[in-house]
Amino acid sequence: MKKIEAIIRKSKFRDVKKALVDNDITNFSYWLVRDVGETSEKRVYRGVEYEPSANERICVTFIIKDDQTDVLNLFTESGITGDTDSRVIIYDVNDVYKLVTRDGKDIAIKKM
């Protein structure tokens, strides 16, 4: 199994989500992250020019089986904006467990 982490532009989130769903990846998580290091557009606040210290991005993450979908292809079609500020990281994963309550007890069921 693989864990996929993709850091994409906020404006591309809807396209990426649609692409994931179209490719049968219906469960994923995402959170707002800040990227430090790339230059960003200057802003002005009350007469003082400044550069924001970080850029806002979205990190999408999900688990897939090894043979499922060409993930890179999925992202290149939906998540790219032409700038070099998006990336996909692929991790190897050992096990994934779902946490469930059954008969009043909390148990873990191995997924996938």
């Binding site: 802003r43 009350r46 007469g47 003082v48 400044y50």
Partner: protein, 405 residues
Amino acid sequence: METISIDTLWILIAAVLVMLMQAGFAMVETGFTRAKNSNNILMKNLIDFSMGSLIFYIVGYTLMFGTDLGGLIGKPQFFVDDNGVDGIANKASLIFQTVFAATAATIVSGAVAERTKFSSYIIFTILITAVIYPISGHWIWGGGWLANLSTPFHDFAGSTVVHSVGAWVGLAGAIVLGPRIGKYGKDGKVNVIPGHNLNYGALGVFILWFGWFGFNGGSQLAMAGEDNAVAVSSIFLNTNLAAAAGAMAAMAVTWLRHKKPGLSLSLNGALAGLVAITAGCDIVTPAGSVMIGILAGIVLVFSVELIDKYFKIDDPVGAISVHGVNGALGTILVGLFATEGGLFYGGGYSLLISQFIGVLAVAGWAFSMGLVIFLSLKYTIGMRVTPKVEHIGLDLSEHGESAYN
């Protein structure tokens, strides 16, 4: 015709309009500062209104409006309970003047925001409402020396009496306290500490604009009869025009200087127009009001930059520029634009000179008293929070609770 009830009714309505301006100030101040200090800013606003109301009732009102003593102060009386009538019910006059005094007090909290000890702020609020505001107020509205100049000083609703007093005291505070940590870099670099929510800032400005109709209109202290009806209506119109012109002018300046129209300075521009028109809203023409508003909006943008970048005085909400610089400007412009006595209307220089005298006298009084109080507090119980408290945020450190959970 019995006029007391109509006049009193209008004053009471105006008093609640001005009271709502406290909400306006609270929203502006919390919107233009950081989230971690919201609770603290709101506490300071709650307290300066509450404490101000009590202190002004206890002694401030009579110190300002009591029998004149030497042209300098009114004879103070304590805990006055006066159910008499003098044109309007005396208690209506008291409550109306109270909300004005509270306006002056709350201007200061913006200039000293995000780094002032709450306990020191309470003490300071007592002193501004008990001493600083009533004494200079007496000179102008209480029958004191500025009202008795050969050409009387003219400040109809309080550009100088209220707004500039608050601002110059705030200036003293901002100087004594020093800037927020991280505001200015070692090599003179000016850093930006953006407000956390300009939604609140905009809401605050609109509430202030709304309340200002009471602030200016109520200062007629009457409504009965055709003359008063016309006068108050004219004041409403002038007030609105100056605010609108101020907002547009400030927006235009930011658009030209920074390539984009900025919200926070445009909002401040509307307030600057309002502050500036306050002195002469009763004796200028609508066109004059527009001119005053435009000048106020332009001056506002440059004043904010000058104070921040050149003088390196940290004023998180622009209170000094909005209320001080434009309070002075609006008062002086009365000497030009007043239809009776203004330079542009053939009145010569005497009114203009009186305006300068009043503006400078009150500025000197408010600023020096502010310095005395802030320096005394600094070297006794301390004015400023510790750096650690400032980093964590005043909400948790000073109040043990947060505005955001």
